[in-house]
């Protein structure tokens, strides 16, 4: 599917918001993603990015530059073409009791949390910002929550150090694997539900290749791209 770039705003030195046209009428559920193919000739695979906002005429992404493809996407200008497959992945359809749910985001993992908080007044959010780069991002999406960072910022420490400050029965989390691992430890010990929005390198993104397998506790593998990306965080074996 070829869409067009509508808008691109850099929020930090290497994190930017990308808005593209949306030709498919399907509405997008939280957790669903699009998979972009750049025109870099030596890059074979598409790259997956969470759909952060479904503006029914446009799609919004929050992307951090980590390698060649994200770098290439960051240079797109208004009107440029984007080769993207969407919506992919299984959307989150369960209803959420926002009073009893804790959202935990780490770094660019925040992107996967944003769709859940759109238009919501009160929610519990802990956001870990290792190098303290994401302040503008929180402001841009007008997100409020417990903001912690290892280096600067008032509250020092990892997001998982503050779980016990909240009364919740479910965690919805996305971020680096170490963070998800320690959330699992906490949730299993305290019998909390944990939905992890997981990230693994993908091949096709549409269920053809078995390349995105995630190992679960019963030894079985689950396809992240079609059965995820939101999985039962308490059963994932974090590689």
């Amino acid at each position: 599917m070829i869409e067009k770039v509508l808008n691109k705003i850099f929020l930090t030195e290497n994190v930017f918001v990308l808005e593209i046209s949306k030709s498919f009428k399907e509405n997008i559920l939280p957790g669903q993603f699009g998979s972009i193919k750049t025109d870099l000739k030596d890059k074979i695979l598409r790259r997956p990015f969470t759909i952060v906002n479904d503006g029914n005429r446009s799609l919004t992404f929050l992307i951090k530059i980590v390698g060649d493809s994200t770098e290439n996407i960051s240079q797109l200008k208004k009107g440029d073409h984007v080769d993207i497959l969407y919506p992919l992945g299984k959307g989150f359809e369960k209803d959420i009791d926002y009073r009893k749910t804790l959202f935990v985001g780490g770094g660019i993992g925040l992107a996967a949390i944003i769709p859940f908080l759109k238009g919501k007044k009160c929610y519990n959010l802990i956001f870990g910002d290792r190098e303290g780069e994401y302040k503008n991002v929180l402001k841009y999406f007008s997100l409020k929550g417990l903001y912690c960072s290892e280096k600067n910022g008032k509250i020092k420490g990892y997001p998982t150090d503050f779980l016990n400050r909240y009364d919740f029965d479910t965690v919805i989390g996305c971020g680096p694997k170490e963070m998800l691992k320690s959330i699992k430890k906490y949730c299993v010990k305290n019998e909390k539900r944990f939905y992890a929005i997981y990230e693994e390198i993908m091949g096709c993104g549409i269920g053809l290749c078995n390349g995105c397998a995630v190992k679960m506790e019963d030894g079985d593998f689950v396809k992240l791209c079609t059965e995820g990306p939101i999985l039962d965080g308490n059963r994932i074996i974090y590689g």
């Binding site: 193919k37 030596d42 890059k43 074979i44 695979l45 598409r46 497959l85 693994e200 390198i201 993908m202 091949g203 096709c204 549409i206 269920g207 053809l208 290749c209 078995n210 390349g211 995105c212 397998a213 995630v214 190992k215 030894g219 079985d220 593998f221 079609t226 590689g239």
Partner: protein, 305 residues
């Protein structure tokens, strides 16, 4: 009207463009991106007798110009396929080959006997060349004698079209192909992936737990084009050319050196509607060059003797 159809064994394909095993899932996902009436067909993921859990992650790594994969034949076994998948793909309007990955001759015989009682598919592609199964004992492709024992009298088990999928990593592949021809196989699917590896420099470790992985994609096309030409010279039965095909030019090169049809693997992972796109592209090319039948292209290479 131009005629793009080709015949392999009893099977007539509407176009010579086929989705390769392992990159076409079970066809269900593929049907969302291609009009099945306008493509040749697809080969299913490899099916093993019993459920097979795949390899540890990572299973896939992009390298310059291609993909390294170490999936490890993950599938739920032949019973699960018959009960849950076959019903879903039975009525697909294109040709369907089931790729079977036997670990022993009994496996192969049992699988064919189970499956042959059912309808809804056109034949079998026997895969004896998976590079991601480390257990050397069952790496038939590397050993002519083992392969002969495996393939002897398989022909008698089924009337359906019978293909053999071979690896480019063993010179034995050409002998095994001739033996399969003498045993009545209908075609040879050549090539499977090439053996490569990749190192994580920081961790000083191989990226894949099995060390080796299957290399595929545009980077290996010149190798497969030569291998397919050599195979066309070795057997008279149809050869299905596989390896790095992603453009119309690639497709034409393989047909010109003598491939009766082609399979596209990595190309589908990048562009899931490529099977339809290549079929339409071929049709347009033939119209523009006033070529009535694709058979005029197949093997049209001018040999320099």
């Amino acid at each position: 009207m131009v005629d793009l159809s080709v015949k392999i064994g009893k099977t007539v394909l509407k176009t010579p463009v086929i989705g390769a095993s392992g990159c076409s899932g079970w066809g269900v996902e593929l049907s969302k991106y291609n009009d099945f009436k306008k493509i040749g067909g697809f080969v299913t993921k490899s099916i093993t007798l019993k459920k097979k859990v795949g390899n540890e992650t990572p299973r896939i790594k992009e390298v310059y110009g291609g993909i390294l994969n170490s999936i490890g034949l993950e599938n739920n076994g032949v019973d699960y396929f018959i009960e849950n998948i076959l019903p879903k793909i039975k009525n697909f309007k294109c040709v369907k080959f089931l790729n079977l990955a036997p670990f022993s001759r009994d496996d192969l015989v049992n699988m064919i006997e189970y499956l042959d009682r059912h309808q809804g598919f056109d034949g079998y592609e026997i895969n004896i060349s998976c590079p991601n199964i480390t257990n050397k004992k069952i790496n038939f492709n590397s050993n002519f004698a083992d392969s002969k024992k495996l393939l002897k009298n398989i022909r008698g088990l089924t009337e359906k079209t019978l293909l053999l999928k071979l690896s480019p990593s063993y010179s034995e592949s050409f002998e095994i192909a001739k033996f399969a021809e003498s045993e009545g196989f209908d075609g040879i699917s050549f090539t499977n992936t090439y053996i490569g590896t990749s190192v994580d420099i920081e961790k000083r470790e191989f990226v894949f737990k099995n060390v080796q992985a299957g290399f595929s994609g545009p980077a290996i096309k010149p190798l497969s084009l030569f291998n397919v030409y050599k195979m066309v010279k070795s057997v008279k039965i149809p050869v299905i050319g596989i390896g790095g095909i992603t453009t119309l030019d690639d497709l034409l090169e393989f047909l010109i050196v003598g491939a009766t049809a082609v399979q596209v693997g990595s190309g589908v992972l990048i562009k899931p509607d490529i099977l339809e796109e290549l079929s339409i592209g071929l049709e347009r090319y033939m119209k523009s060059k006033r070529i009535k039948s694709v058979k005029e292209i197949i093997g049209s290479i001018k040999e320099r003797l």
